[in-house]
Amino acid sequence: MAAFLTRRLFGMAVVLAVMSFVVFMLIGLMPGDPIDIMIASNPDLTPADGARLKELYGLDLPLWERYTNWLGAALSGDLGFSRTYNRPVLDILLPRLGNTVILLGLSSLLAIFIAIPLGIIAATRPQSLLDGAINLFCFAGISVPPFWLALVFILLFAVSLGWLPAGGMGNPSEGLFSRLEFLVLPVVTLTIASLASYTRFARAAMIEVLRQDYIRTARAKGLGAGRTVFGHGLRNAMLPLTTIIALDFGSLFSGALITETMFGYLGMGKLIYDSILGNDFNLALVGLLLATFVVLVGNFLADIAYAVLDPRISFRSLEAA
């Protein structure tokens, strides 16, 4: 167990370190230097002021030296400031992370709880009309561009019907209920894409399990269909499903970025997008690292869940894998 944890934590640290290096170097290639932007927007600043400011912020150093300085500060807990907000980046990122977690949490729970029954229905009636309909829905769900789906929902439910707000966050002082209204369209948009892929995985996993010998044994000994499918089938199908859903966290976050941007939802995806476009490079960098960290933690928790769900798998065998 201890060896497993050490190995995984080390792996996560490596991914984060590589990611921070690569993103830092990429950001060095971004158009527009923060100080140049400052000079361009303020006629009172002379080029000499600019040079002094660059020296003050260490922007005159070569890129790799800036990276080691940044890394040293970051490791001692100083992740730096945001250029546009003039506040420490974590103060801005953490509330946004909270909003994203609400959005992601609600839509993945919704997707999982709808996908599993749909997958079971399809898997227990292969080639039926119902299976065909579910299959068609899945193909549609994975093929629809998420930003377009959001656009269509806005056109339909906000512009034409006027049932729901087209975007925004609501006023927190008006209580939870008024905020829920603003969550409906983003959550539904984000749910549809993952729902479709989860349903396909659930169906495939169930079909695979249902043709195993122990299912035939369960049926042969007269066990009811319900207990065969749920007690023996689903329990075993949950294993591959957990892994696949965990590996999907990264794309879920990409989906959140699109959904948040479309609906003006103040989450972390939108913040990262805005900060990249707004030349707020430190915020973008730390935001990307935080997002990666969250995804890695998600994968890690799924590995633990995997070992808990399957008594045959111990942490020892995970270490070997």
Binding site: V14, I154, S254, V295
Partner: protein, 308 residues
């Protein structure tokens, strides 16, 4: 082989069986036909322009938001350009980006998968851990960073970096360098099983070099997973391209792409909802067709797999 033997037990080649299974898959065949039609229409875009007397590029501010009529079959957009021909030119871009990026990703993935699977050892561990790492990343924000970098700072000459087609090359390149993971894993898995077969052992015993073994002996035997994964990934690539173009980071106007045609659609939602519908529907239908086709190929290549 004597003629008599073949009449008693007709021999069907793997390839023939594959085509028969594929031909029986109605969604896949319908998708293949649909994709051929879309590609043909996209290629015929100039012919449509000539026949209808419209232009995808010419703006006409006296004829904005025109409703569909005999000349402008799908109306005009906010700059008075013909929507139908813009859709067709956009289709060229989307299909081109989809096919070329997917092929590029397949080449990278095949190379990594072959090396990891055949060489094994620490190289395999390193390559596969890298693959796992890339799979776990939140890709879209990373793609946005890659799409936003200034190519002139990389030493690319200004004339290329700011040319009209630069955004096209750039998007093909960045999608290919992040999209290779699925192919790499599948090829590695297939290579692991092929490399223990007798003909590979024989080649090794004859002293054939490892590059030749990988390319001449292993690669032909791992083509089917590559084809399936690449076909399926064309759809994903088209979706990615449309998202990036929509966000203003992909194909740059005035070159039309299905994604950047939707960039202004959100602001124009009340004024001209139809402008938001057509490009999205085109992406949707095309991606769905690629997914059905890829799925059909998978079933035809491996009938024992879970799907049917």
């Amino acid at each position: 082989m004597s003629a008599a033997a073949t009449t008693i037990a007709p021999v069907h080649s793997e390839a023939l069986l594959f085509w028969r299974r594929l031909a029986r898959n109605r969604p896949a065949m319908a998708s293949a036909v649909l994709l051929a039609v879309i590609a043909l229409l996209a290629l015929l875009a100039p012919a449509f322009e000539a026949a209808l007397g419209v232009s995808a590029a010419r703006t006409d501010l006296f004829n904005q938001y025109a409703l569909p009529d005999a000349t402008h079959w799908l109306g005009t957009d906010e700059a008075g350009r013909d929507v139908l021909t813009r859709l067709l030119y956009g289709g060229r871009i989307s299909l081109l980006v989809g096919l070329v990026s997917a092929a590029g990703a397949a080449v990278i993935g095949t190379f990594i998968g072959l090396v990891a699977g055949y060489r094994g050892g620490w190289l395999d561990s390193l390559l596969m851990r890298t693959t796992d790492g890339v799979i776990a990343l939140p890709l879209l924000p990373l793609l946005i960073v890659l799409a936003a970098i200034d190519l002139t700072k990389l030493g690319v000459p200004d004339s290329i970096a700011n040319s009209e087609m630069a955004s096209l090359y750039r998007i093909v390149f960045i999608i290919a360098i992040v999209g290779w993971t699925t192919v790499a894993r599948l090829v590695r898995a297939a290579t692991l099983s092929v490399r223990t077969r007798e003909f590979v052992r024989a080649a090794e015993a004859m002293g054939v070099g490892s590059a030749t073994i990988m390319l001449r002996h292993i690669l032909p035997n791992v083509v089917s997973p590559i084809v399936v994964a690449t076909t399926l990934s064309v759809g994903t690539v088209i979706l990615l391209e449309s998202v990036l173009s929509f966000l203003g980071l992909g194909i740059q106007p005035p070159v039309p792409s299905w994604g950047n045609m939707l960039t202004n659609a959100q602001e124009l939602a009340t004024r001209a909802p139809a402008l938001a519908v057509w490009p999205g529907a085109a992406i949707f239908v095309t991606v769905m067709a690629f997914n059905f086709l890829g799925d059909g190929l998978q079933d035809a290549l491996d009938p024992r797999a879970t799907r049917r």
